[in-house]
Symmetry: C2
């Protein structure tokens, strides 16, 4: 597949994140409140203002949930119509007045997150973390090669790129102490992930193929993690407050349709999967990912580069597994892939791994050492699938760490 | 406190769950679709039809979320007005036509569950389960006496009493097998809990006192649990599909106001709590609880009796802890207390404990043995706070187990 040309010239630049092949969906605010938009080149199209051909009620709320709920035929119709409007010079006069320069807008949450589930499905990440905590011989839990392990996260804490993230307070217990203290997190971390957005509901169990059909699109996702809070709280029922401070997503929903040319298979299995998890076709995507860290007032260092194909389980497999117990899925559910780490030290998707539990601090290009995040650090995820003369970009997924709340804690 | 008399005579019966002191909120359907109602005696009051004195928009949707969001002053005003209408003979003529016999209505979900969190906060339960899995000396996890341990559950699977519950499918691995199979759960269980409903939102950390103010009311809650799915999946990130089949709640929200006379303190601490978890007053309630199990077509046996005061942490402490990381709480969030077990063998709130992991099956009054739930079993929770000549009842929290889906599983 090659570039589809648009009369929006900036969309034809091979380095542009938003060519006509992409058409990602977001919610923007240019000073008149939140509106539904589509990114094209250096602009966002105020989609409600153009002859999109769909029921206007789908655009009544500033969120993409109603379009998602309308189903795959509507998804295809909207994409076809937008392509027509932005490719054909004939429509330029009618459409061009509704293009707003991206640099003048604030992005908002593109959809209302119904429920949020986070997985643990990159084998390199699981082996790295397991090796640190349990030694190389017991790195992978016994169930890992059979189950796309996941846990329920907190939808209320999902925020859009650009939202500041306050360092959490919590119970911390040092290994040499008997009792915990209540204090600001000292090992605040990122997790580089992709998020899959459920666009159709289910009741009862669905197959992997049906699950893939239910997915509307993907975002970049940073699951901020308080490693010290997690270490003390997570046995026996899993991470809770360690993961509830914030989860940042990129502002543009990149549709499954835009990613079609980049489908790739999951890896060979070391242990046969149970039949219900078999995939009918390739369900991962070739998406280059990177992480940038900029200390306050300083330049950014790229601290990791990896690719979405380093997953052991696809989002479709995760979603299928999520329904096995009869769990109903709803429009707007968000599934985090789990931290995506490659095989090399510089392809690890968390500081926990990059600094090997803090024992091997990174040195940023600007000279600072980093084991975990410092106040003022700006953390940004980047992602793009790269085609022939074009790229399907996600836009930046960014957040800056603010200091913890004052030590005078509320008490009874 | 003693009975407040109503002109609805059935409400003055000392054995009635719904005297004027109670006034619980639900959503009923008498054949004209779902409507907001208040239980009084043997009736439900169609509250929209009476002169309730509040903004009608609070009653626009058939759910109590808008009233909750309106805040404590509205909560108090509505309770005062309903008491006036149902106590004073002067209002009888206007109000009586809007009483619908309870036996003629179907109950619906009383509120939309925003997010669902489940805790693990009865010490007897934690010790029982820990003893079975890790031995008596390591029964309590090291963090248990410091943290009200919780995990995020799945709001989409919360259902109202009366909804059938289908036995889940899932990955099961027998201790003597190397690999799992995909099959119907064989150790399907109940968990006797109370649910606290968050009626006001928060951003940032709140104190225990503020948390108590945010709670609107309580329901009975059965957190159906697939013990065999849980055993294989739960390491390292906690229970997931084992808890996602269904969580059943009782249909009436019993308000905090109705429960005021029954406040009781949490127990003495074996290890001092961190100051943020200290309680400014008694925050548990003296509520008698019981569990009934009826095999298909047979009479019910009461298999457990316990009391809500057997909790180590109150809902207010749990809600405070939930906010420590900055996690925003929203109107309609539901917090499960965790399984409530007393100190005696017949006061345990799960079959896992009652049958001691299946090793000591119960014998029902009708002669059947039970280690875990069988298809066709109807499981019902009951609860009431008992005052001087009256009771604050919750109504039954019931569900019947249906067979698992056919073994022909969807595959790719």
């Amino acid at each position: 597949m090659s570039l589809i040309r648009s009369w929006v010239e900036s969309a034809n630049d091979p380095e542009c994140d938003f060519p006509l092949n992409n058409l990602p969906y977001g919610v923007f605010d240019a000073g008149q409140g939140p509106r539904m938009g589509v990114a094209i080149g250096a602009f966002v199209l105020d989609v409600v203002q153009v002859d999109h051909g769909l029921d206007p009620s789908l655009f009544a709320a500033p969120s993409w949930n109603a379009v998602m709920a309308a189903g795959p035929e509507v998804w295809a119709a909207l994409r076809a119509r937008l392509t027509e409007l932005l490719a054909g010079e004939a429509h330029r006069t009618a459409v061009e007045p509704h293009l707003v320069p991206l640099e003048t807008v604030q992005m908002r949450m593109p959809f209302a997150v119904t429920e949020y589930t986070d997985f643990y499905a990159s084998k390199n990440h699981a082996v790295n973390v397991g090796t640190m905590f349990r030694g190389a011989e017991n790195a992978l839990p016994p169930n890992w090669l059979s189950i796309p392990i996941g846990y329920n996260g907190r939808a209320s804490s999902v925020v859009v790129s650009g939202t500041p993230v306050q360092r959490p307070l919590g119970q911390l217990k040092a290994p040499d102490q008997d009792l915990p203290v209540f204090a600001p997190c000292q090992r605040f971390d990122l997790e580089l992930e992709m998020g899959a957005i459920v666009g159709q509901p289910s009741s009862g169990m669905v197959s992997v193929a049906e699950a893939d059909d239910m997915i509307f699109g993907y975002v970049l996702l940073n699951d901020w993690s308080a490693r010290d809070i997690q270490a003390w709280e997570y046995q026996p029922l899993g991470p809770f407050q360690a993961k509830a401070t914030a989860t940042t997503i990129s502002p543009w929903i990149v549709t499954k349709a835009a990613l079609e040319p980049f489908r790739r298979p999951t890896p060979e299995r070391e242990r046969p999967l149970l039949p219900y998890l078999a995939e009918p076709g390739p369900m991962l995507y070739d998406i280059d990912l990177s992480v940038g860290l900029a200390p306050e007032g300083k330049a950014e260092t790229v601290i990791a580069r990896t690719n979405y194909t380093h997953m052991y389980y696809s989002a479709a497999q995760q979603l299928c597994h999520h329904t096995t117990s009869g769990c109903p899925m709803r429009v707007g559910d968000l599934l985090g892939s789990g931290t995506i780490s490659g095989t090399t030290p510089d392809s690890r998707g968390s500081l926990l791994e990059l600094s090997w539990g803090g024992k091997e601090p990174l040195t940023l290009d600007t000279g600072e050492p980093r084991s975990f995040l410092e106040d003022g650090d700006r953390l940004t995820l980047y992602g793009a699938a790269k085609g022939d003369g074009y790229r399907i970009g996600f836009g930046a997924c960014s957040g800056t760490v603010r200091p913890a709340a004052a030590a005078e804690l509320p008490t009874a």
